[in-house]
Every structure is written in structure tokens, then in C-alpha cells.
Symmetry: C2
Subunit: 452 residues, 2 copies
């Protein structure tokens, strides 16, 4: 290891503190806005979920001065609590963005921490966007360094790496120097957690919510001089060696300021695990085939990358939340309903007898020759005939990204679902013009239902 | 693995919910009170540390209704924040109790969560003591199951296992059923974190504070129906397999209700890593030797269990906090000052030129034939003569526990240090009679400085 590689934590702090807005390429800035639009969309969707309701019930009596917005809700909270609730809600359906190489959902931990802060302290829009870009950069680079072993072992990478992203972003907007940025990373390292075992349950959202809250707290503490270790990432008992068997330190320090991780961010068309995107595309294509009558299906096999089986081979599901990571449910619901939105991944859809019957006929077949963004679905009918659909690149994968207009549509649809009556137009405009805003925290008012 | 072993999480929930106060042996109840006295003592010590001051500064503006006490301080906070601050302060100097097999500091995460709750909801003293005992039981059994690999890899076991203890204890006092107790454990699993790399820095305290706060939140959420995974501990991506290479599930389920982990709890005479106890005892004994003049020392070797070297071979220290895990500092300070209290592990003591000079002459020698509670210190003088001291069992180790009166003295001493003018007598009485108290939360008033 070279000296530069060893000092990964310091290299990140140096980069973050020294980064200039004019050095951030236009396409990266644009992608940041897309990511923000998308996170508002999914936060609206999550704002009505029972998990959000319970968390609000519990935290309402424990929260401090109500300066920060919970997207899609009337209640306001202190910034730490709002960051927690918005991150948890935004990631709740796994409908938020995905950094393709790591499967991190990068925006949920970072943006809510920034907006919660920005509602209380006046910052410039360009500074907020810049801080967001840097937070995602750090979060995803750390994720690159520990992948794929970290997630495979059982770490919920969005939560574990997200806390570093939030701490970095908030630290940047607070104007921390390199030493304090390093402390912010150290204070974040003490809070990194979240287990894959919790996926499909409400508990998952605590990990993601804590990533945003913990990152915000980490930076606020560092700002006042709360000190951390010199090498929170690469130290012998630091985050990287503890949570990964062979961390790749060069993935953190290589090409800083040249390569931008947001360029590898993607947005989902469906509210479920990203590995299911091409599977659903294949099923929706098959459904147009007049020969396909669900009642006549004998068996369905889904062929895909080993991650598909590892993360989503889940035949027995009882809740909508579990269904988000069930290939069996995704296949059955999309073939039966001809759609794959929030409603098709609800408890009601899971309990539908037609879906249950079809789900039981679906098997997942692992095939290492498939890239993760591809899938093949083969339906065998009772008469022995077969229908097949191949999707080399699912919608929303890097080769087939959602268009800006599709992300706007997603926001409109999910705002209507989560916050009926809200006009999403001012929010959409405010995000597209964020870098020119003198007070980006003000846009949070556009995410609240109208006062009655 | 038998079925009983596989269902470790459910077995714990079953045990905790079914445990009866009359089944808890008298010596375990007594040890619980000793542990509480000790945690109040160390919380007083931590209450004046700059780390506590910064955390209070940051959280003051973000906290909810001020119902809960921060030990040794006038400020009050919401229960989540108070649990965080008290746990962080109590463990800050590593002067709190130690569960010998795991080196967990068991009380810091658990008791602050319970008392923060008890200041807002009326509970019976015996119920609080019972919940505390069960919380420590769960925390330490999980610790047993992942030791020694978990800490060795870099997990700060007090934080990582503490969150389960706090969730269990609070869940018990809330009267959660087995299903919800399991959810509380699941909600805790999403928050387990804390790295050994942060030891010696302020960041460490965030992990321990979060364990208390997170455990309290986990149980409050579970009470309202916030659901978690079925097998948060032993599931394939659960806490045990993710954070330990060969978790011992039988250590969790074996002898539940028969073996009590509090019986293996110990209390420290010195504010530093527990591995340094016998080292300091040896140095204080050597100091009585008239031949030992620090200025004439040529070299000092400290011989001990491999953990001593692993955790405390730290010749270069610049802060009191680092000094807590430095054998070199512990040796130099105790030989020079003839004492090893908070003052001898302060920044000022670390900067003392006499201590610096002597520290540079100390080497740590690993010897696997030593048990962890033993040490040998050999001083070589400039004339080549040698002085040696062997300590087979340090003070405060299981074979040589502190007496009740010594723990009371420790509380008096640290209350005087952290909260001058406070009369500790009512607090000491209240802890000894806790099981007969109708309102144990009321004793927190005895931990606050008098209103002026």
C-alpha cells in the first residue's frame, strides 16, 4: 500500500474541503437534481406507510423545536428527527435511487440531513447541491471499497455507508476544515450499522433513518470540536477492515474529482429490489402475449445473475414489505395486474388469491452468465408450450436510464399517492433551479400538504 | 444445531417475558445494585468532561420535552437524549463496570435507558431492577456468543451488544409480549454499531450513547407495533453471523434463568482499560520500594496476557482519553503520582514532563501464560538492579472484587469530582433500597446539583 492509499480518510477530507463548485461537471450537477426529484417522490410514497406513522407517533413526544419538515406530512420536528423520518420514508419501499456498483441507495441518507439543516440555517442552493454531490461521492466510494463482500456478509450498505455520506455533506455545508471533516467521518464511524436481516421488515427503516440522523449529528458535533480517530476508515479497527474482508482502499482515493459516482446512479421504475427491475420488464412484456392466461400457467422460471437469487428468491411472503424483495411476488403481481407500482406491492396484493396461486409456481434460477441488469422469464403453460422474454437491460439500469420526464412523472404519481391534493409543480421547478436558489430549505414548504 | 439453539432470539424473548422477580437470586439482585451505584459514580465523573459538554451544547437545541435528568448536570432533556448523554458520560473514562468474559461494560447502555423512561412513566423499583438484570443478561449472553472474535475484529462490544440489552430492559418494563420483545431486539439489531478504532477519542462515546438511546427507541417503537425480523440474532444476515465468524449460539440459550451474567460483573478501581488494573496494582506496590526513584529508572517491562498488548500497548499518547488505554502511561503515572484516579489520566498528567520521560522507557511483553487479570512489572534501574512486582489478581477482578463500601467510596469520590457540593448519601440509600421504591425515577433528583 502506498502512503496515499493508507490515508484514505484524510484523502477524502482533503478532497471534500478543497472541492470547488466550478470543478463539478454539468452532467453531475444535473444528475444530482434528478436524484433529489426522485427522493422527494419516494419520500411522498413512504410518508403514508404505517411504519412512518408509528415512528411519528413515538417521536412526536420526544422531538425538539419543530423547525424541519417531514415530507408529505403536516407535523414538523427538530432537524435530527426530521432527517431520520425522511430518510426512513424515502427508502421504505426500496423505490429510491440505486448506485449500481454497490446497490447503495445513495440519496436517502444524505439529502434529508441536508434539507433538515437548511430549514434552520440559511445556505445557498449551489452549496447545498455541491455538498450533496460530495456526500454521495464519499458514501459510494466507501461502498465501492467494501463491495461486494460487505453486503454479502449481511451489512445493509445504504445504512452503513450512508452515515458517512450524510456526515460529509453536512460537514461540507457547515464549512468544516479538514481536521473537523475527519472528525465528522470518525463520529460517523461510531454509528455505522444496519443489517440485511432486517430487510422486508419495518426495522430496516431504522437503520436508514439513523444513517441520516447520525451523519447530521456527527458533523454538528465535529463542528464544536468533538474529536474522532485519525483513520476511521482504514485504521486497523476502522470501518473498512472491520466490515470487509479485503477492502479496496484505492477505490476510495483513485480519481477523486475526476470520476463521479453520481454518474453511476440509477432511478427505479418499480418499488422493489433493483434486481427485480428486468424481471418485471420481462413479465410486463409477456403479459401482452394473448397466449398467456395466468390460470393456464404450469410453471415459471426466472433466470438471472446470482444476486437475483441471493436477494430475492423468496417464495413465501405475507406482507407488501417482504414482497419488495420477492421475485416470486414481482412475477405474479406484474403478470396478473399488468403493473408494478406501490399498489401491486401492497399487503392487499400479497394476499390476493390469484397472486398467491401464481407465486407458488415461480422458481428462480441462478446463472452467472447474466449481468445483474438482465433477466429472462420463461413461462411453461399447462399444455407444455413455452413463452419467454429476455430483457438485456431493465428500465432504470445504467444502459436504460429513466428520462427526466419519467422521474418527474414518478414524483407526480407518488405525490398523488402519498399526499393527495398537493401540487407538485412548484417542488419540481424548485429542484431544477436549486443551484440558483438563495434559500433551498424553503422548498420543503412545497412538500407539505396545504394547511386546511 | 438443535431447534432450541437455532431460535436464539425467540428463546431470549421467551425467557425475558416469562422471568419472575422471585426467581432472581438475592446475590444477583445485590450485584445489580452495586452495578447501579458504580454507574452513577462514573456518570458523575463523565459529566464534567469536555465531550459531555459539547454533546450537551449540540443537543440542547434539538431535544424534546425536558423530562429526564443528565446525571451531575442541571440541564434536562427528553428521555432519548438523556439516555444517550448518561450512557456516554458513564462510559467515558472506561471507569464503569466490566463483564469479565467479554469486556463489555454492561450497565452504561442499559441503566440510563431505564431511568430516562422511569422519570416519565411511573414504574415499581423492583420492576426496574428486574428489567435491568434481564437487560444485562441478554446483552452479555450475546456478547458471550460473539467473543472473542467480535472485539478482536474491531467491534466495540459495549456499544454493539449494549443496544440489545437496553432494548430488552425497556421492553420488559413496558410489558411487551414475546412477539414485541422480539421486534424490540430486531429494532435494536438495525442500530448495532461502534468501532474499537474510536477508542481513545470522543467518538467512542457516541457509540455507547447510541446503544442506550437506540435500545430505548427500539422498545418504544416495538410497543406501538413497529415490527422486526423473526431472527435478528441468528438469522443468516443477523447480528451473530454478520459480526462474528463462529458465533456460539448455545452461549445465548444455555442455562437461561440458572446462570446469571451479573455474577461475572466487576467494578474498576482505576479509570482506564480493565487490562491495566493489575499493572497499576503492581506499580503502586513497587512505588513503596525506597529503591525506586523514577529518575534512576533505565527500563520497565510489563508482562501480561496477549490482550494487554493488543489493547494497551500505546507508547505515544497526547490526551487523557488516549492514556486510558495506554499501559505506558498507566505505569508512568502511577509510579510518579502514587495514585491512578481521574486526575492521573487527565490531559495535564499526560503532558507532565516527568510522566513523558518515564513513559518512553516502558515496554509491553505479551506472555500467553498470564491470565488477563494478572500482570508482572519489572523495573530495571540505571545500575542494572531490578525490582519486580507480581499481581496474580488485580483489584476489581473476579477473584478480588471491590467491596460494597469501596464502591460507595468510589461514588462519593467521583460525585465530589464531577458535581462538587452534591450530597451523595440520599442517592446511595435510594439505590440500596431500590427494590422497595414505588418510584425509582425519583432518585434521579439526587443526581442533580442543588438549584442555586
Amino acid at each position: 500500500m502506498t502512503a496515499a492509499v493508507v490515508a484514505a480518510s484524510a484523502a477524502l477530507a482533503h478532497f471534500v474541503v478543497g472541492s470547488r463548485w466550478e470543478d463539478v461537471p454539468e452532467d453531475v450537477r444535473h444528475e444530482a437534481k434528478r436524484s433529489l426529484l426522485n427522493i422527494f417522490a419516494t419520500a411522498f410514497a413512504g410518508s403514508r406507510d404505517p411504519a412512518t406513522g408509528i415512528a411519528i407517533e413515538v417521536l412526536a413526544g420526544l422531538s425538539g423545536p419543530a423547525t424541519a419538515t417531514v415530507i408529505g406530512r403536516r407535523e414538523r420536528f427538530d432537524p435530527l428527527t426530521a432527517a431520520f423520518l425522511n430518510a426512513a420514508a424515502a427508502n421504505l419501499h426500496d423505490f429510491d435511487d440505486t448506485h449500481h456498483p454497490t446497490i447503495i441507495h445513495p440519496t436517502a441518507p444524505v439529502a434529508p440531513a441536508l434539507f433538515a439543516l437548511a430549514e434552520g440555517r440559511r445556505v445557498a442552493g449551489a452549496d447545498l447541491l455541491h455538498a450533496f454531490i460530495l456526500g454521495v461521492e464519499v458514501e459510494c466510494r466507501i461502498g465501492n471499497a467494501v463491495s461486494p463482500g460487505h453486503y454479502r456478509r449481511g451489512w445493509h450498505i445504504t445504512a452503513t455507508c450512508g452515515v458517512f455520506g450524510a456526515a460529509t455533506a453536512v460537514g461540507r455545508i457547515l464549512g468544516l476544515d479538514e481536521r473537523r471533516t475527519l472528525w465528522a467521518l470518525g463520529n460517523a464511524s461510531a454509528q455505522a450499522g444496519g443489517l440485511v436481516e432486517t430487510l422486508g421488515t419495518m426495522s430496516k427503516s431504522i437503520g436508514v433513518g439513523n444513517a441520516a440522523r447520525g451523519g447530521l449529528l456527527a458533523a454538528l458535533l465535529a463542528e464544536r470540536g468533538y474529536s474522532g480517530p485519525e483513520r476511521p476508515l482504514e485504521g486497523p479497527r476502522g470501518f473498512l477492515p472491520v466490515t470487509a474482508d479485503a477492502p479496496d482502499l484505492a477505490a476510495i482515493t483513485g480519481g477523486l474529482g475526476g470520476r463521479w459516482e453520481l454518474r453511476r446512479n440509477t432511478h427505479k421504475p418499480y418499488p422493489c429490489g433493483v434486481v427485480l427491475n428486468p424481471v418485471i420488464d420481462a413479465c410486463l412484456a409477456l403479459r401482452d402475449d394473448p397466449d398467456l392466461v395466468p390460470g393456464r400457467v404450469a410453471a415459471i422460471t426466472v433466470h438471472g445473475h446470482p444476486l437475483l437469487r441471493e436477494r430475492a428468491d423468496r417464495p413465501a411472503v405475507t406482507t407488501g414489505r417482504e414482497a419488495q424483495v420477492s421475485a416470486q411476488h414481482a412475477v405474479a403481481a406484474s403478470l396478473i395486474f399488468g403493473a408494478a407500482g406501490i399498489d401491486e406491492f401492497s399487503d392487499a396484493a400479497v394476499a390476493d388469491p390469484r397472486v398467491q396461486a401464481l407465486r407458488a409456481k415461480v422458481a428462480v434460477v441462478e446463472d452467472p452468465t447474466f449481468p445483474v441488469e438482465a433477466a429472462r422469464v420463461v413461462v411453461t403453460l399447462e399444455d407444455g408450450s413455452r413463452l419467454a422474454s429476455d430483457v438485456p437491460h431493465g428500465r432504470g439500469t445504467p444502459m436504460r436510464p429513466l428520462a427526466d420526464g419519467e422521474i418527474e412523472d414518478k414524483l407526480r404519481r407518488l405525490a398523488a399517492h402519498g399526499c393527495p391534493g398537493l401540487d407538485p409543480a412548484p417542488l419540481i421547478d424548485a429542484v431544477w433551479s436549486l443551484d440558483r436558489s438563495p434559500d433551498p430549505g424553503a422548498l420543503m414548504a412545497f412538500t407539505r400538504p396545504a394547511e386546511t
